[in-house]
Point group: C2
Chain length 180, copies 2
């Protein structure tokens, strides 16, 4: 059975939506996802507010209640019948996120085995056939095949099989048997 | 550069010593490590107290202040010059352990890159050349070479290269260049 590692932030959890919402709320702004196409949120927020941006990610409750990316639950549940699914998330930069991330996964993906949750930093440690992730930097050291999940910041990236949403993941892995 | 994954409980942290100490303190007993040779603590404690044993591991502070296994700091610091060192610890059974384990590693092994800490369940997800672990069950699915670190419960296990302490790890990896 092939093994697929799935990233969490921007792939299962809409971290960016929450980040923008908190920033807009506190600063009276109206940033949208369209504003960060091809960029990071840091690129469009003035330097003197970068500490605030970072602060949201470090706060106790940030990762507790993130929106779920559409269709990810339905598709992953079906995929778990035919693949070994692991969740591989970069958590070591934000130690406050461990508990919230674990609870979030248990709440929204109760059909996944928690022994398959991996909180790591560098994803080269993951032994899997595929890694579905929005951050192409992880593919440079990941030993399997990277699948780029579209997020605003990676719009300009090429060189990897790309999926724009979970319907496309479903097509790739359940109808076509894997990326071509 | 070869990569070595190192388990935490019973290899870097003397979890068993703390477990026995808490049990003895609360129950007026005098269990020693010699009493659990070839066994688990569960095997020598009466069934009606198994919940208590489990409870210690689930408590908020259990993993916060564990004794460090002798020589592990000195040897691991030297090994980090010649190998990629990752810490791979089963944490998903005890979500309360995430924060304490992270802080313990940062406090006692400040020379290790926290991006190389991996909190997982099933260790088959670790992509490494070697895994130093006291639990032989992990070697059944780990893709690299398992190195059994002696703990009371594994005294009767054979079939893997064995190290009794960190001086033997030092000899194996720094003097002999790896297990034979």
């Amino acid at each position: 059975m092939k093994r697929i590692a799935v990233d969490m932030d921007e792939v299962l959890a809409d971290t960016l939506a929450e980040h923008i919402a908190r920033y807009n709320r506190d600063h009276g702004e109206a940033i949208t996802k369209a504003d960060v196409e091809g960029k990071w949120l840091w690129d469009i927020v003035s330097m003197d507010r970068h500490d605030r941006l970072e602060g949201y990610l470090r706060s106790e409750d940030f990762f507790e209640d993130l929106p779920v990316i559409p269709d990810s639950q339905r598709v992953l549940r079906a995929m778990a019948e035919r693949y070994e699914i692991y969740i591989g998330t970069s958590a070591m930069e934000f130690p406050n996120s461990f508990g919230p991330k674990y609870r979030w996964l248990r709440r929204h993906f109760p059909f996944l085995d928690p022994r398959h949750f991996v909180f790591c930093g560098d994803k080269s440690i993951l032994k899997a056939d595929y890694l579905i992730d929005d951050q192409p930097r992880h593919f440079l050291t990941f030993a399997g095949q990277g699948i780029l999940f579209t997020a605003p910041h990676n719009m300009g990236v090429s060189g990897y099989p790309r999926v724009d949403n979970w319907e496309q993941v479903e097509r790739m892995f359940l109808l076509e048997g894997g990326p071509r």
